[in-house]
């Protein structure tokens, strides 16, 4: 029946799956990581606010709160080992007008209960001084020094790459179909690319984590409701925000915030719209209007003329009740080895702060496996370091000079808005996890994300991808099969 037998199969290569793969790669295990998409991190991880949350928001006692605070602590080490951009700039929850001020106290108390270090209450004057673009009616803010921002694509890619470096097998365009059971034990995973045996299957399927756990016979009442969030990105030449600015939260969400990407672009969003379709990342007129209304409450000087991109992401909102006695909360994470089925690690409903929590969840998976009697033996040659590839724009002129001298392809700028060179693109195409589509290159280099949105670089990237992959430009895609850029040679009218 099985093509090959693995110790562990991880279903879903989003931030959670990739972190689990990376942390487990430390041990003598044969691991397979699968994802239905053409790249890692294409689900909830593909579009989010890129914030490493401090942890004052989740309900005290919930798994969310525990994972958030534990995860947050791990990020400095993680960023150092995996070499992705991460900055602990701190974040603010901003009260506008006197009526919002008391709400900050609730968050303060939650933060204290959750064990969040480094919080401080700031006066309106102080906030105005620190963030000059803020609404002048600001009455105060909760400041959390442990909040941070990262490059969310780089996090997922770096974790996956480090896992692959350490022997994990990654299979993309490989969709989970069902489990192979022996009695109540999972012994394999059926996919569109064949069946693979395993001793453990880990559900990190994000938006589809409900489907996967139902196939294992777990939590039939658990349901993921995709929650769409829409965003705007601004030209960094026109407006800059120094820090993460949250509004005071509502019972449902942390609200529409104003923040900055690690590359300095102001970003606003997300709203929270429950939908049915797990693939619907379309932006709506109404949603954009909602985001605009709320974000301009925080920063009134935002100007529509400076918007360079709009996009939507989906959070995998679950309905799992919190298991801590006395805590009444209905949207907690599921992180467990269930009793009803053997060989199954179930991770479900990992919505925000999922990015922050991912390393803590991975650590928890290791502990749970140990508790389940798995003898995890460390590899001698495990290398926790994922070497970074050069990013031309971040280098000093001296370093740039040397880079170009050693490889002249770093002397050709392909994306002028984000200063991305041909050398970087080629390096990503031939990386341990090869970037084989335009969007894959975009997520890795941030090419095409600037003010011209790929208008200038697209023909060049198509040419480079075709050349490096040894395919026709007609076969080059934006994001996998069916998304070809070009349809035929100009002169081949019949073609």
């Amino acid at each position: 029946m099985a093509n090959k037998k693995y110790d562990v199969i991880i279903i879903g290569a989003g931030v959670v799956g990739c972190m689990v793969a990376r942390f487990l790669s430390r041990y003598k295990l044969d691991i397979l990581l699968i994802d239905k998409e053409a790249d890692v991190g294409m689900g909830a991880s593909s579009a989010n606010t890129a914030i490493v949350h401090a942890g004052y928001d989740p309900v005290p006692g919930s798994l969310k709160a525990i994972m958030n605070v534990a995860g947050n602590r791990m990020w400095d080490t993680l960023a150092g080992e995996l070499n992705f951009p991460f900055e602990r700039r701190g974040d603010y929850v901003v009260a506008i007008g006197d009526e919002e001020l008391p709400l900050l106290n609730n968050l303060w108390e939650r933060g204290v209960k959750n064990g969040v270090p480094g919080m401080m209450m700031l006066s309106g004057d102080e906030v105005r001084r620190r963030e000059p673009n803020i609404n002048p009616k600001v009455s105060g803010a909760l400041w959390a020094s442990t909040g941070g921002i990262c490059d969310p694509f780089a996090v997922v890619i770096a974790a996956a790459e480090n896992a692959v470096q350490n022997g994990v097998t990654l299979m993309l365009e490989t969709a989970f179909e069902d489990f192979v059971m022996e009695g109540n034990r999972i012994v394999g995973v059926k996919t569109n690319r064949g069946t693979f045996g395993c001793r453990w299957a880990i559900n990190s399927a994000g938006l589809y984590s409900d489907v996967v756990m139902h196939k294992a016979g777990q939590y039939p009442e658990f349901k993921i409701t995709p929650r769409k969030g829409e965003y705007y990105v601004f030209d960094r030449a026109e407006i800059t925000i120094n820090n993460v600015l949250f509004p005071v939260p509502t019972p449902v969400t942390k609200g529409i915030l104003v923040t900055t990407t690690i590359h300095g672009n102001t970003i606003i969003g997300p709203n929270a719209q429950d939908i049915q379709d797990k693939e619907d990342r379309s932006v709506t007129r109404e949603g954009l209007a909602e985001v605009w209304r709320d974000a301009t409450k925080l920063v009134p000087k935002l100007d529509l003329r400076h918007v360079i991109a709009v996009f939507a992401g989906l959070r995998p909102g679950g309905n799992a009740p919190c298991k801590t006695p006395g805590v009444n909360y209905g949207h907690d994470y599921i992180i467990e080895i269930p009793e009803g089925v053997q060989g199954f690690v179930n991770l479900g409903g990992i919505e925000s702060p999922g990015l922050t929590s991912a390393p803590a969840i991975a650590q928890r998976v290791i502990e749970m496996l140990k508790d389940a009697g798995e003898k995890l033996e460390e590899k001698r040659d495990w290398d926790p370091i994922r070497p970074a590839r050069p990013r031309f724009r971040d280098l000093s002129p001296e370093e740039q000079k040397i880079l170009i001298r050693n490889d002249p392809r770093y002397g050709r700028i392909v994306c002028r808005c984000e200063t991305v060179t041909e050398g970087e693109i080629v390096a990503e195409i031939h990386a341990p996890i090869p970037a084989r589509t335009y969007d894959a290159i975009k997520r890795r280099t941030w090419l095409g994300t600037g003010r011209c949105q790929g208008g200038f670089d697209t023909p060049r990237v198509v040419e480079i991808l075709a050349r490096e992959l040894g395919i026709s430009p007609l076969e080059v895609t934006k994001k996998g099969p069916g998304s070809q850029f070009l349809v035929r040679p100009t002169k081949d009218v019949e073609g």
């Binding site: 040679p489 100009t490 002169k491 009218v493």
Partner: protein, 124 residues
């Protein structure tokens, strides 16, 4: 043949007068809506022998790019545009190409030559 009314926009100058042209087949009867005499000439031309400059590309072997742009040395009859484009698809030049080089002589017997619009050096 019955009288017909055809609306045209004169493009002799940027004003772009909307001309109401009364005609019987190709015979002009009257023009209204023009702000100067050029409008009458334009209407006459459009009725009897409408012509257009045509620009396109032809294939090139061994050039820095796979195509070279070309243009008609003079306007050609409008009904022949798509025939000309079909002819041009059959042409394949060898690089290098010089600007002004005749790509197709006396295209479709119109007496109009097709010329290259640029220099195209040989590539690797």
């Amino acid at each position: 043949m019955a009288e017909e009314l055809t609306k045209l926009i004169c493009i002799t100058c940027p004003v772009g007068c909307t001309l109401e042209v009364t005609h019987e087949g190709k015979t002009l009867i009257k023009v209204e809506g023009n702000q100067c005499k050029k409008g009458v000439d334009y209407a006459e031309g459009e009725l009897t022998d409408p012509r257009r400059m045509v620009t396109s590309t032809v294939k090139v072997r061994g050039g820095v790019f796979p195509l070279v742009p070309v243009y008609t040395a003079a306007p050609i009859p409008k009904p022949l545009i798509f025939d000309l484009l079909a002819e041009l698809r059959k042409v394949e030049l060898q690089a290098p190409v010089k600007v002004g080089q005749v790509v197709l002589k006396n295209a479709l017997g119109t007496g109009v030559d097709i010329l290259a619009s640029r220099n195209l050096p040989a590539g690797d």
